[in-house]
Amino acid sequence: MARENPAEKALGLLRSRLCDPNFAFKALSHSDDSNYSKLKFLVSSSITEACNNSILLLGPRGSGKIAVLELVLSDLLQEYPDMISVIRLSGLLHSSDNCAFKEIARQLCMEHQLVFSRMASFDDNSQFMIAMLRECGLAHKTIIFVLDEFDLFALGKQKLLYSLLDAMQSVTSQAVVIGVSCRLDADMLLDKRVRSRFSHRKLLFLPPANDDIQRLLEHILSLPTDSSFPPDYAVAFNAKLQNILADDRFKEIISTYLNFDSTVKHLLRYLFRAVSYMDLESGMLSLENFKAALSNIQRHPKLECIKDCSILELYILVCMKRLEVKEQNSYNFNSVMKEYKSIHDSVKTSDYFARNVCLRAFEHLLQRELIGYTDNRGQNHSVEFSPVKLLVSFHELHQGLKSYGSCPKSNVLGLSLGSGLEYREATATSASTLCLSKPKTQNPSLSFHYLLNPSSLNDPLRQSFKSFTCLCLTLSCSQSTPSLSPLWFLPQLPFNYFTSQATKTLSEIHFRYLIFDTIEEKPLAFCNTEWVSDHFQAVIY
């Protein structure tokens, strides 16, 4: 009986659209210079002309590489039936050569109705593949190898890649190798012998332009006006939707969201959340749904964590912060307890607890991952003695304390004391060390990760902080890797966050000069976070 409810049906339809990336990319694929048409042209020409080819599809995660490829493949399978067989491998599953050959043999057997033996050796499998390539070439049948997570195949000895690309050098074979990767430097990872056999064709996938997104939103969210829905309902729904889409507030929401996640997949994820909030009573989407989804998707995990802490745990955090301010580069539970005692001595509070209670609170903090061990867990120290570090930045701690409901005074006191020290210290040391000090004291990847967390973007302090860490990392990366790569593809970075417009146009060298000039000109500039955000606005956002 629930089947008849049009609202529920509409919700189901929208959800299934959002869960199917092919649907979204179909809408984007019809212009002539889209990746879809380029890829289709490349593959179909190598099918019709019976030649070998190899292509790399590169772009940040969620930009629809696989979805576009699937569209192309399904079209080609319809156009040229019986002339294509597709072998799909994923670097996540088949990164070892042995496993990959086995999987290739298995899929080839499935395709050609042969019996696959699980016992076949590595050699058997690889020879079988070469033989099949030759046979298929003679029969004018193209084998398309899709290698998802291509960079993972390049980790080991690259036997698979070598034998695949080497087999394609002969005239008899007829195959297309399509690598899909999130790393722009994926072809640089290849060995020399493999690279020389690779065609160096690359397709870049970039986030869609603004008007594309408008089109996409309409395409996904509007209901069909054919017979599947009651006509007046569908018309009303679409009219409401048009209203929302034209609303300036809605545009603002979407652009806020796209500022940190502009790939299509992330947009779909956001829309999914918004759509699932749809009110089934009225059966209409509303602006509130999108607002709620935005606030729910922009989270501050560390701040939430601090809010969850008990008073005692906050005390310990503040103690650690104070120790850091005092430039103790390494401290453990015992030194924290000493600091705790000194706080208690100076400000008499009721919150002075026994050591074992504090130890448990300390362990809670470790579990919450607000603090962590400085060295890896290999040590056989007990908890009290192993050195620890804070995994939250000062600003996060400060904000967390400010928003904490029943915050005792001495915490704030301790912190403000700490912050005073920090700024004095900043004037003494040079600005560059300060701006680099964060990644040094903390685990760089970790601190970096949460700095870049999209949820923290609307926080001005974090934003500026992010900007300079980003710059610092650009510097450190540029020193370690000589090859110049655009920022959003640096392999160490979770590049799905790096999709700002600026980085597309400005090179890394530009950044470097900008920073060095700034540091020379105004050494203290980096202390003042507002200054950074003001002056780098043009560069960062």
């Binding site: 599953l93 088949h94 998707i297 008990s310 609170a361 991952e369 050195p387 392999p491």
Partner: protein, 576 residues
């Protein structure tokens, strides 16, 4: 009254049908047991009935019922309906669901909205929140309410990739480990690629079944296996990060939805750690997250009031204890054992537990009880190894003395440690704490007390700059080789004997006074047992010397107590 009977019956059924725990129910249940603190279990809305019927390894063979049930269950092949939680005709309404989780209304509603109506596909979601905030039970109970098929596997009990994969596959293949198949899994599956292949196979067959069922629309089936979606739940995901192959399994799990490309399958991750801690160099499209914050004080009040016999009395008790305890921790699993002990204490003056407290009584109880609150705050995390009754007996015996609470650990040490081990512990502590260069001056048996002091002062200066800076900084015990430990041990045992004649007891003197050979073997044995008890840890070996170095981990307080028990003047030998 009848309602209660019904509830009890359902519960009994549930209990009877518990057959082993294929899927790490222990933690899940613990949460529930805690949620219904020390109480009568007659309430119907108590979520303790959470039992996945059937499909299990028949591991528990403790009770007769279980054995019988195993027999019955092995005769019936598992069916699709086993993937649904709850009894066949049992109805578990939304109100029941909401009332069984105080303070979680928003989160449950959000989860329901994301799960959506029947048969609507869904993107993966990620449920996270601190320990004991009800993540697992909330998700499972929601599925019990929805009656949709799901597969639950916890990365805590499935502690490596193979077991995790096989646990998921077993449930999907409707395979039950039992004596007939030699307790083996449905498929042997070690590599991720095999897992994905098998998973696809299993899902296709299961989804075919589900569709067939919903097509049939028979009245008997309609209560079961609602819809043709299947949900894979991975609990305790944060564990995977610590696995040996965690760096490959995590991206696999996060990308599994994209790899499978089956809209009828959805993943739900449950984790203690927030999504930002799952950093990987590969990156992934983050799942949709739902956050469960820790319980607030008001939520805790509601939770603890559930299932209490005398709510008024307990409320007055909570008004006294909850606030101070919340300053330390807000975790239910830690508060409830502390409260259960305190409540009995609180009730001591009351003869009739069913009494409705008035203002006067409350004040009387409060005055009686107040002195207990402050010390108990510092006892909150004490894990008592005795059953609670015994603890009570000890407490009543030692009335008045302030030491009775915390010292049971050290008291036990007194009884269970041989004297030579105590000496060894002290010498290890001294070796860790004192700089090695001062040993000669501290333990010089020939020098008088005057000369010792002088020499000590002289050497103090030279050592000070080097040692204090490093050692005081971390307050970290230093390492020492075994030779030094034994030398100190020799010194202090001889001192201990010389100065304290009355301490001389038959059995402890023997080991120490005897010749070196006997002593050494005994001491080495003690040393290794102290090491295995984690009082002394073996540190990294020095690359130059090649011998292992030791480090003492005992706190100063404890060593002082040990020293007091053998009347050893420890303070003389600690370098400050």
């Amino acid at each position: 009254m009848e309602e209660k009977d019904e509830g009890a019956k359902i519960k009994d059924q549930g209990r009877d049908q518990q057959r082993g725990n294929h899927q790490e129910k222990t933690k899940h249940e613990l949460v529930h047991i805690i949620a219904s603190t020390n109480s009568d279990m007659g309430k119907e809305e108590s979520p303790k009935t959470t039992r996945r019927t059937t499909r299990s390894s028949a591991a528990a063979t403790s009770s007769k019922n279980v054995v019988e049930e195993t027999y019955v269950s092995s005769s019936q092949p598992p069916t699709l309906s086993d993937l649904v939680l709850g009894e066949e005709r049992e109805s578990f309404s939304l109100d029941d669901l909401l009332s069984s989780f105080p303070g979680r209304r928003n989160q449950i509603q959000e989860l329901l909205q994301l799960l959506g109506p029947r048969n609507s596909p869904m993107l993966p979601i990620f449920v996270y929140g601190g320990i004991s905030t009800g993540k697992t039970s909330m998700v499972l109970e929601t599925f019990r309410h929805l009656k949709r098929p799901f597969v639950y596997s916890s990365c805590l009990s499935c502690y490596n990739p193979r077991i995790l994969f096989e646990s998921v596959l077993n449930q999907l293949f409707l395979h039950r480990k039992n004596a007939v198949n030699g307790y083996s899994s449905a498929k042997r599956c070690e590599s991720p690629s095999d897992f994905v292949n098998f998973l696809r196979e299993a899902l296709v067959s299961i989804l075919g079944n589900l569709e067939g069922n919903s097509g049939k629309l028979s009245s008997k089936r309609s209560g079961k296996a609602n819809g043709n979606m299947i949900y894979l739940i991975f609990d305790n995901l944060e564990r995977v990060r610590g696995w040996e192959k965690g760096s490959t399994i995590l991206p696999l799990l996060f990308n599994l939805y994209d790899i499978l490309k089956m809209p009828e399958v959805t993943l739900i991750f449950i984790s203690n750690a927030s999504p930002d801690t799952y950093y990987s160099s590969m990156g992934y499209v983050e799942p949709i997250s739902i956050y469960l914050p820790d319980y607030t004080q008001d939520d805790l009040q509601q939770i603890f009031l559930r299932n209490q016999a005398n709510k008024k009395l307990y409320a007055s008790f909570l008004s006294v204890v909850l606030r101070p305890f919340c300053r330390i921790t807000r975790r239910v699993d830690e508060l409830s054992p502390a409260f259960s002990l305190l409540f009995t204490k609180y009730c001591e003056p009351v003869t009739n537990l069913g009494v409705v407290p008035n203002k006067e009584l409350n004040q009387r109880l409060f005055h009686y009880f107040r002195p207990h609150v402050a010390p108990s705050l510092n006892e909150i995390f004490k894990v008592s190894s005795h059953p609670s009754t015994e603890v009570e007996v000890r407490e009543t015996k030692g009335k008045g003395s302030t030491r009775k609470f915390g010292d049971c650990e050290v008291d036990q040490l007194d009884f269970h440690m041989p004297t030579s081990a105590k000496y060894l512990l002290i010498s290890a502590f001294l070796a860790s704490r004192n700089p090695a260069t001062l040993d000669a001056s501290l333990f010089d048996s020939t020098g008088g007390s005057n000369s010792r002091k002088r020499r000590r002062k002289a050497s103090e200066k030279s050592v000070e700059q080097k040692e204090t800076a490093e050692q005081e900084l971390l307050l970290n015990p230093g390492t020492f080789p075994m030779e030094r430990l034994l030398a100190i041990f020799q010194c202090i045992t001889s001192i201990g004997e010389g100065s304290l004649d009355e301490e001389e007891e038959g059995y402890d003197g023997l080991g120490i006074r005897n010749g070196n050979g006997g002593l050494m073997s005994d001491v080495l044995l003690q040393l290794s047992s102290l090491c295995s008890a984690n009082f002394i840890v073996t540190g990294g070996s020095c690359p130059l010397e090649g011998s292992t170095r030791y480090r003492s981990t005992v706190s100063e307080d404890m060593v002082l107590k040990v020293a007091r028990s053998i009347k050893f003047p420890l303070s003389k030998y600690i370098y400050r």
